[in-house]
Each structure stands twice: as structure tokens, then as C-alpha cells.
């Protein structure tokens, strides 16, 4: 499952929107059957790369909603450029996705 992302040029800035599939478990909940605490499992970092360098980064805590949504505007990329997004979570799992600026 890849990160779903869209990038659009708007008023000279690139607007990037991304949706990720992730539980974003806070570590504060308990299993309703066993009563055992459910370990925290959440994305920690999302990075957007453009032409080999970092354009934007988001550090996420467990208070980001399940299936995280992220949007940001940045200047730099041009229409037709490809942006790469990737995340890593606190268990070391990763995922990535791409968007071409429209």
C-alpha cells in the first residue's frame, strides 16, 4: 500500500496533499478483551524529496489521526516535477509514494 499523494501548482506555490494508511496507535489504549496495553505504533517522520534534496518534513506524534492526512504548500518545484514522499514509523516500517506537480 503506497502513500497516495497529489501535487498542484497554485498561485506560484506547490500544494501537496497526502493520505497514508496507518493505525496511528497511541500506546494509551488497552485491548478490550485481554486488558493488555496496546503498544504505540505510529508514523514518526514523513519526508518529501524533490530533485534529491529534502523539501519538507513532518514529525508526527501519536495524536495524528488514523490514516494520516498531510497537506503543505512550498515553493521550489515546477509543473511536471516529481515529488517523492516516504514515511517511517516507530516500529521501523516504511512506505512511500510519488506525485507529479500539475
Amino acid at each position: 500500500m503506497a502513500i497516495k499523494c497529489k501535487a498542484k501548482m497554485k498561485d506560484g506555490m506547490v500544494e501537496v496533499k497526502a493520505l497514508m494508511k496507518h493505525e496511528m496507535e497511541t500506546g494509551l489504549r488497552k485491548d478490550s478483551k485481554t486488558g493488555e496495553p496496546i503498544p504505540a505504533h505510529h508514523i514518526t517522520e514523513v519526508v518529501c524529496m524533490h530533485s534529491g534534496s529534502e523539501l519538507f518534513r513532518c514529525n508526527m506524534g501519536p495524536a495524528i489521526s488514523k490514516n494520516p492526512y498531510l497537506s503543505f504548500t512550498v515553493s521550489g518545484p515546477n509543473v511536471g516535477d516529481t515529488l517523492q514522499l516516504s514515511y517511517v514509523d516507530n516500529m521501523g516500517e516504511t512506505d512511500s509514494g510519488e506525485a507529479v506537480v500539475k
Binding site: 506555490m13 500544494e15 497511541t26 500506546g27 494509551l28 503498544p39 504505540a40 514518526t44 517522520e45 519526508v47 524529496m49 529534502e54 523539501l55 519538507f56 518534513r57 513532518c58 514529525n59 508526527m60 506524534g61 501519536p62 495524536a63 495524528i64 489521526s65 488514523k66 494520516p68 492526512y69 498531510l70 497537506s71 503543505f72 504548500t73 512550498v74 515553493s75 517523492q84 516516504s86 514515511y87 517511517v88 514509523d89 516507530n90 516500529m91 521501523g92 516500517e93 516504511t94 512511500s96
Partner: protein, 154 residues
């Protein structure tokens, strides 16, 4: 708090391993997640952990778009507009959450940016943004967002 640090250390290690093995992950993903800031219990401590204790400037150049009443505290859409120059980092906080720091958005010297995400809110609270721009630290807070109590007792 200990557990979270442990988790994170574990993550750093395994994350590194997975990244190298799959060859997919950019090296920059492995930079430090601000553990200390995410572990604090007040917005002030979180801001200090992120940007140092040099004091914050109140500004109306930071504006929020968020619902008056959150339909569901699990998913509260939040947008922040920052009308400042040379923005380096934006921190989003919910003072009434057990750990106020929700996320930080890091960029290099951008101007007039907007960021948005969806967040969990345990109870009714305003939002606070702390922004590092042009070497200074700015802050603003939103109006209160009411988190609804479920109606059906079930």
C-alpha cells in the same frame, strides 16, 4: 514515557535496517525525531524543547482553520496559515491533550506557507502553533474547538 523512548530507539535501529535492506528510504528520513518535545506535558515545555528558551512573540500572522465543534475528536481537520518570511519549522499543539505536541512541520526558508493535517483531541481545547521564522520564535492560538460528547448512551 520510558516505553516511548524505548520504542523510538528500537524504531531508529530497525528503521535503519529496513531502509538499507529495501534501499527505498531516503537517508533524511532517519534524522532525529524530537523525542523530548513529544514527551512534554505543557505547550511551553514542548516549545522550549524544540526551539530553546529564548521567549516567544505573539503574532496574528499565524491563522487557523478548524471546526468550531469537532464532529469526532478522533479526526479533527486543522489547517494553519503562516504569513511570515523564512519559516523553518511550525509546531502544532493541543494544550489539553496529555502530550500537547501533535506534530512539527519542517522546511527551509519558506514564506507564507500553509500546512494541514487531521488530529486527535481528547477534549475541548484551543490549538497552539509555535513557529520558528527568521531566527525568531512566534506563537498564536486558535479559538476553542469543542469536542463533542457522544450522544447515544448505547
Amino acid at each position: 514515557m520510558k516505553r516511548r523512548e524505548f520504542n523510538f530507539r528500537l524504531a531508529s535501529i530497525t528503521g535503519f535496517g529496513v531502509g538499507i535492506a529495501s534501499g527505498l528510504m531516503p537517508i533524511s528520513v532517519l534524522a532525529n525525531w524530537p523525542t523530548a518535545a513529544f514527551d512534554t506535558e505543557t505547550t511551553e515545555d514542548a516549545a522550549n524543547a524544540l526551539f530553546g528558551e529564548s521567549g516567544m512573540i505573539e503574532t496574528d500572522a499565524i491563522t487557523f482553520k478548524a471546526p468550531d465543534i469537532a464532529e469526532n475528536g478522533r479526526v479533527v481537520p486543522v489547517n494553519i496559515n503562516v504569513g511570515l518570511n523564512n519559516i523553518e519549522e511550525i509546531a502544532l499543539m493541543v494544550p489539553e491533550n496529555p502530550a500537547p505536541l501533535v506534530s512539527t512541520f519542517v522546511m527551509s526558508n519558506q514564506s507564507n506557507v500553509a500546512v494541514g493535517t487531521r488530529i486527535k483531541m481528547g477534549k475541548t481545547s484551543p490549538l497552539v502553533a509555535v513557529v520558528k521564522a527568521d531566527g525568531k520564535v512566534y506563537t498564536a492560538s486558535s479559538k476553542e474547538i469543542k469536542v463533542t460528547i457522544g450522544g447515544c448512551g448505547g
